[in-house]
């Protein structure tokens, strides 16, 4: 369960956050949501796929962390072995909430930082301090702010990006069959990716339009992130 509270430097002045990653904190999962704003970082480590949200049926982006749903191949005891940790994980236990501040002359949907007080990461004696001695923001909180902003921006351009990809028929389903060195066969379904051929055969005008909308780089990053499947299988095989 979550118990969200708007973060402030009075109620939460002594708040500390355990930032290690482990099974105990729910990090042993095979895939996480990712956002166009972090594709460049994600594709250096993880394969990016599109999946349909089971409720809204809209496309969303995921970074694959394992071959099976309950397995994060990057997790090793208390350590996440990668140069970049996906934003949706790194932001824990903070989320973006929205507040109507229009009565005070502010934004009607002003984004505010919320903290999940029921998260096992939250405590007052161990981990990263959220606020400085007199109530200023720690570097850690500034980094959380940046991560949440990236997620917020990524979420707001996501629909538009899939609309552009769909119009150009760039999205194709991909069926992954993985044979491990011990002979185990895994079949991953429900994933979509960028059709590399279609991408390469876009006209100059289409390329320019996609680029202007800010989605061209993302399309290439998603396509090239597929190379990380080999890395994923290598880690899996090394753990057998």
């Amino acid at each position: 369960m979550t118990n969200l509270a708007p973060l402030n430097n009075v109620t939460h002045k002594d708040l500390k956050i355990i930032t290690q990653h482990s099974e105990q904190f729910g990090n042993n999962i095979g895939a996480v949501l990712t956002f166009p704003t972090e594709f460049a970082d994600i594709q250096r480590e993880y394969p990016i796929f599109f999946q349909r949200n089971p409720e809204t049926l809209k496309y969303q982006c995921v970074a694959l962390l394992g071959i099976t749903p309950g397995e994060n191949l990057f997790l090793d005891n208390e350590k996440w072995n990668a140069r970049y940790i996906p934003a949706i994980v790194a932001r824990e236990p903070f989320v973006i909430g929205f507040e109507d501040q229009s009565a005070d002359g502010g934004d009607e949907h002003a984004p505010v930082v919320m903290v999940d007080m029921d998260s096992p990461r939250v405590n007052t004696h161990e981990g990263q301090a959220v606020f400085l001695e007199f109530g200023g923001n720690t570097q850690y909180l500034e980094s959380i702010n940046r991560i949440l902003q990236g997620i917020y921006q990524g979420m707001s351009v996501s629909d538009e990006m899939f609309e552009a990809f769909t119009q150009l028929e760039l999205i194709e389903p991909v069926s992954l069959e993985i044979k491990l060195k011990n002979g185990e066969l895994h079949r991953l379904t429900g994933n979509y990716t960028i059709n590399r051929e279609k991408l390469n055969s876009l006209s100059a005008k289409e390329l320019a339009k996609l680029n202007k909308a800010g989605f061209l780089e993302g399309a290439f990053l998603v396509a090239s992130s597929l190379n990380n499947m080999k890395n994923l299988i290598d880690i899996k095989n090394s753990k057998l």
Binding site: D100, S102, A103, D104, G105, L132, E133, F134, G135, G136, N137
Partner: protein
């Protein structure tokens, strides 16, 4: 014996929107601009009937919901509950057209529920109204004191009988009485001491309001208010009149008719990059107010020397190129200061 304000605000006759004399914009005291906007269609409609004014307003309405004050019948003064722990009205989003209908349906009600849409941004609620209801702000004054590339803030205020308790705004203001009658009670900035301002945190519109009920002043509790009365002045506006209120002047605003509309213009010519003066006051409350008296007085001397005496004194004995912050503060210097302050405050 009731004491009341006897001074009337100066009146300037025969003003038109594009011929407001330059001296008005820099005046040290309020000036009524008689009939300034008497030719605005909404003024003419309002003089025919409230319904005509409402129809005209509705024809310009964008449909955007607006923050609206809801008060129980009998409420007129927008202030606090008896123990000052809460405001005596609610602030909720509403459709302006529905609020207008509600006010119309209560025109003959002697005790209507209070409805007030305060300081609503015209460009959002009534985008096309601006075409025929605007002041040009093209006076020579604004060539030498540019509005920092920002248009003046245009607000529309709609309601039935309301009283906004005395407060100051940190902007210069031209308030145009468009529909109904309005009464402004005005005091110069130095009267703050005699006006007993309330909470900085909890107040109706942002600035602190006086705790004195001018209609029924409690002189035992607020004896210095007598001195304010002697220094105050009253501006009574009819539909089509406007009043210039200098930046920082205290003003109480009463909407007197069953249906009232005001359009106002707030502006500052101080560069936005140099920040809000109110931030200095907040910081001083935290970092200066409770220091030992000797220290505090020393800071007063420093503020007088660096800030209040003159804007050149502290630097003029230094070679020009070594004056730094004691010389001219341009955009770059303001940026650097902001960054330094952010760093120093983030502790």
């Amino acid at each position: 014996m009731t004491v009341s304000i006897t001074i009337k605000t100066k009146v300037l006759e025969d003003c038109t929107p594009d011929q407001i004399p330059d001296y008005v914009y820099t005046s040290n005291e309020p000036i009524i601009l008689k009939g300034l906007v008497k030719n605005w269609p909404l003024v003419k409609a309002g003089l025919m009937s409230p319904i005509a004014a409402v129809d005209l307003l509705k024809s310009h309405y964008s449909g955007a919901p607006a923050n609206t004050y809801f008060g129980a019948p009998g409420t007129r003064r927008l202030a606090y509950n008896p123990d000052s722990t809460k405001l005596n009205f609610e602030n909720r989003k509403a459709q302006i057209s529905e609020v207008l209908d509600e006010i119309l349906s209560n025109l003959d009600n002697e005790n209507p529920p209070l409805r007030y849409i305060a300081s609503n941004i015209i460009e959002i609620s009534f985008p096309s109204l601006k075409d025929e209801h605007d002041l040009p702000f093209n006076a020579a004054h604004f060539k030498t004191h540019p509005l920092e590339l920002a248009d003046p803030h245009r607000g529309i205020w709609i309601g039935n009988k309301t009283l906004s308790p005395c407060h100051y705004d940190a902007q210069s203001n031209i308030a145009c009485c468009v529909v109904g009658k309005r009464k402004f009670t005005l005091f110069p900035p130095e009267q703050v001491h005699n006006l007993y301002p309330g909470s900085l945190e909890l107040n109706p519109g942002g600035p602190a309001i006086t705790m004195v009920d001018f209609d029924n002043p409690d002189f035992e509790k607020y004896p210095r208010y007598r001195d304010a009365i002697a220094a105050g002045q009253v501006a009574e506006l009819e539909a089509g009149d406007a009043v210039f209120i200098p930046c920082m002047w205290w003003h109480q605003v009463e909407a007197l008719s069953p249906f009232n509309v005001l359009i106002n213009y707030w502006w500052n010519t101080y560069p936005k990059i140099r920040g809000q003066a109110m931030n200095v006051l907040y910081l001083a409350l935290m970092s200066i107010r409770d220091r030992p008296e000797q220290e505090k007085q020393a800071w007063k001397h420093l503020f007088d020397y660096y800030i209040f005496n003159s804007n050149t004194q502290a630097g003029e004995h230094l070679p020009y190129e070594t004056r730094g912050l004691l010389g001219e503060i341009d955009d770059t210097a303001a940026r650097k200061l902001r960054s330094m302050l952010l760093q120093k405050l983030n502790r």
